[in-house]
């Protein structure tokens, strides 16, 4: 009688391409990224950094109600996006705006959603950072954790039925892997043999819960085998490693019609959101260490610059350009009209049923009777 031990003793190794200083590790086998893709990836990471810094401040100034940053996870965001095709469907958790950025979402479109103005594709109905864009194949973010995972299995099922040359990519954090939906989604995807890539951004913290209190297993990667899913652990702060693993995962998922689990190790440098102050539960020097010594953006920059594809002048020019563009986008977004009151009642159903028609009419009457109590800058 032999009980299998609760741990295999050895931790699953982590795939890396670049060392901490941005030099390719001797002997590492990886697909080369050409200059165009590398520069685009890098500039996307810088853009995301700047977007996060400025929009976070915008919330602090009271101009938007909420924001959450992806600081420290820029490599996962952009490198995974770069490895996908535009037909691949993305179901995000909420810390993956970089994927949308890669696909062509503009700074203005981001700002519009955060300000909830008339031009927001979500028509002002969701919180800031809950982006969604059908034309970019990026499903609207829904706050509850891990609900997107079984939905991703469903999307993959749909792609499999249509025999599309595309896969589904869905993201979650370390905390999300504790949800029941994670378990069932992985199980379903394996049983149904559908092309979905589950990318877990293991960033060490679920608000104030560290991973030592989240699970007892060797991280997330070991769970894949429990469901019969091929898995890999990757250095999430190494853009090339992330790019390579997602590329291979995508090919495998589509050609073999199977799910893949990728655990990308990283660190959540920012607070959970603007409603959180993480210095309350973690050491400031821990945050500083990951912000500087282990910064994925500067690590990739060293490699890109080392190849002669980027210079310091490019850096400062690019940064100031993006900053200017974003400030302008924010000004425009802030000034733009809010969505009309009519939008309160549309899209609940395909067509409004009698009770909603009545409620809309009743609201309209109340507004007419008491115009002084109603903001003058919101259209009807």
């Amino acid at each position: 009688m032999n009980f299998t031990s609760e741990s295999s003793g050895k931790r699953i190794p982590c795939f890396r391409v670049l060392d901490d200083n941005g030099y390719p590790i001797a002997g590492s086998i990886f697909e080369q990224v050409n200059k165009e893709v590398a520069v685009r990836m890098y500039s996307g990471m810088v853009t995301l950094q700047i977007m996060d810094t400025i929009l976070y401040e915008t919330q602090r100034q009271g101009r938007i109600s909420f924001y959450l940053t992806s600081t420290g996870e820029e490599a996962i965001n952009l490198a995974s996006a770069a490895a996908l095709s535009p037909d691949d469907v993305v179901l995000p958790q909420y810390r993956e705006p970089g994927v949308l950025l890669w696909r062509g979402f503009t700074l203005q479109e981001f700002a519009n959603q955060c300000f909830g103005n008339k031009a927001d594709y979500g028509k002002g109905r969701q919180m800031p950072i809950h982006y969604g864009s059908q034309k970019h194949n990026y499903f609207t973010v829904s706050s509850p954790i891990a609900t997107q995972l079984p939905q991703a299995a469903g999307v993959a099922y749909s792609l499999k039925m249509d025999k599309k040359d595309a896969c589904v990519v869905t993201y979650m954090g370390d905390g999300g892997t504790s949800e029941g939906d994670f378990h069932a989604a992985l199980n379903f995807a394996a049983v149904m043999e559908v092309p979905v890539i589950f990318i877990c951004r293991n960033n060490g913290w679920a608000i104030s819960t560290p991973i030592t209190e989240q699970f007892r297993s060797d991280g997330v990667v070991v769970r894949g085998q429990a469901y019969g899913i091929r898995s890999i652990r990757v250095d999430g702060n190494d853009a090339l490693a992330v790019y390579n693993s997602v590329r291979t995962a995508r090919q495998t998922a589509i050609n073999e019609q199977r799910p893949i689990l990728i655990e990308a190790l990283t660190y959540r440098v920012g607070h959970h959101s603007t409603s959180d102050d993480s210095t309350k539960y973690r050491a400031v020097d821990e945050i500083e260490h990951w912000k500087t010594a282990q910064n994925p953006v500067s690590r990739f920059r060293k490699w890109v610059q080392g190849n002669g594809w980027w210079t310091d002048e490019d850096e400062s020019e690019f940064r100031s350009n993006i900053r200017k563009q974003l400030m302008e986008a924010i000004q425009l977004a802030a000034r733009k009209e809010k969505p009309p009151i009519a939008n309160l009642f549309t899209d609940v159903y395909e067509e409004n049923p009698p009770n909603l028609v009545e409620q809309e009419r009743s609201l309209g009457e109340t507004i007419k009777k008491h115009p002084q109590d109603y903001p003058s800058d919101v259209p009807l």
Binding site: K123, G132, P150, A152, G154, T346, D347
Partner: protein, 403 residues
């Protein structure tokens, strides 16, 4: 659990146990309108439903054919074909799957097992394992899966083996199914149908006797309908599949073996319309699902006592068909609601509020709502029988209303 569900196999929807001396066991003793003096044939013509092609111009005379009439009318000359309610659901589902390749079925044991109530029997061999998908046991997950598939263009029919299990899927149903069309700014639609048997059965135990319509009715963005006859089961199934909104179709465990003759021609019903079961003058009785049969049983007694109740099967639980209901209230001025939900927070509670708000001036008496008690459904047969509204209570309530 599957074994327990099997015992339900063939059961009569009306309580047996000696309460109704003239009740025939194992049959559906529904009043046949041919024996009643008053039949309003214009009842249907008021409604603008273009979908209802059933015997144009004629009133739907019977909710369910009784055995006696079936025997006499089994000749080939009668139009339409006879089938049981679960077969009607399957027929509707099969027709829609043939018509639109995007329609698929997701649920536990729906494939080669044919579904625990045989609604999907024969579909997997016909349409393949991918279109009639057997899932592992995780309601929240296969409901979420259905939502993801719907957002990508499929039209899934998600089956809960028993409605009660869909409580595990509540998060996906309320936060995603109901909301994502709205929160995405209209970019994504979720044309899913969520269906399954619910209601108080025959000694299924508390967890398998849930009435989820009361829990779901607040969720914005979804539509709720309840079928009660083979005719409306097929019509509502087809309508629900064709609807762009997410629709929850409530079936009842004890009604699956109802037999009726339905048209051969294709028909689709209106999801938001109530069904006039029996027009009358004295009192409006609003009901749905299995309670319709208890009401019609009570109506037999009431007619003998000289009353003329109007019976409406509301069918659409969200939104209410206040047009049909309102016209009835304006005519009779008295309302009795008979439901299987629990007293607190049920469909009857919302309906009472809606009628009071909209038709207060037309009421001559307070609305009476007969519901189940606020208790978990007990297992013991005698106890269980008395948690649902029985015909004598309905008769007494009408007498009280018409004083």
């Amino acid at each position: 659990m599957a074994a327990m569900l099997h015992t339900i196999g063939v059961a009569s929807p009306v309580a047996s146990g000696g309460v109704f001396p003239d009740h025939q066991s194992n049959k559906f003793a529904v009043s046949s309108l041919h024996s009643l003096p008053m039949i309003r044939s214009e009842a249907r013509s008021n409604l603008s439903s273009l979908h209802e092609s059933y015997r144009a111009g004629k009133l739907i005379a019977k909710a369910v054919a009784t055995k006696g009439e079936n025997a006499a009318a089994s000749g080939a000359s009668k139009p339409g074909h006879e089938l049981l309610l679960f077969e009607a659901l399957r027929e509707g589902l099969e027709e829609e799957m043939e018509r639109d390749p995007r329609v698929c079925v997701i649920g536990e044991d729906v494939g080669h097992y044919g579904g625990s109530y045989k609604v999907t029997k024969g579909l997997a061999p016909k349409f393949g394992d991918l279109r009639v998908l057997d899932t592992p046991i995780a309601e929240n997950s296969f409901t979420g899966m259905g939502i993801g598939a719907a957002m990508t263009g499929l039209r899934p029919v998600i089956e809960g083996m028993n409605m009660g299990f869909l409580l595990l899927a509540f998060n996906q149903i309320s936060d995603n199914c109901g909301m994502l069309h709205y929160t995405s700014g209209g970019q994504f639609t979720i044309p899913a149908v969520i269906r399954g048997p619910g209601g108080v059965g025959r000694q299924l135990g508390a967890e398998h006797s849930q009435r989820l319509e009361s829990y779901f009715q607040s969720i914005p963005g979804i539509q709720l309908v309840a079928c009660s006859t083979p005719y409306n089961a097929k019509g509502l199934m087809k309508a629900a599949i064709r609807s762009e909104n997410p629709v929850v179709l409530f079936e009842h465990v004890l009604l699956y073996n109802l037999k009726e003759r339905i048209p051969d021609e294709e028909y689709v019903l209106n999801l938001e319309e109530a069904e006039m079961v029996r027009p009358g003058e004295h009192v409006t009785i609003l009901t749905y699902s299995r309670m319709r049969y208890h009401v019609m049983q009570a109506v037999k007694t009431l007619v003998n006592k000289g009353y003329d109740p109007e019976v409406i099967d509301i069918r659409s639980l969200k939104p209410f068909d206040l047009y049909t209901i309102g016209n009835s209230v304006k005519k009779t001025h008295r309302v009795l609601i008979v439901e299987e939900c629990m007293r607190t927070g049920g469909i009857g509670a919302s309906l009472t509020a809606a009628i009071n708000e909209n038709f207060h001036d037309y009421l001559d008496a307070q609305i009476i709502c007969l519901s189940s008690q606020d208790v978990p459904t007990p297992y013991a047969g005698t106890l269980e029988e008395w948690t649902v509204v029985q015909p004598p209570q309905i008769v007494a309530a009408v007498e009280q209303l018409c004083q």
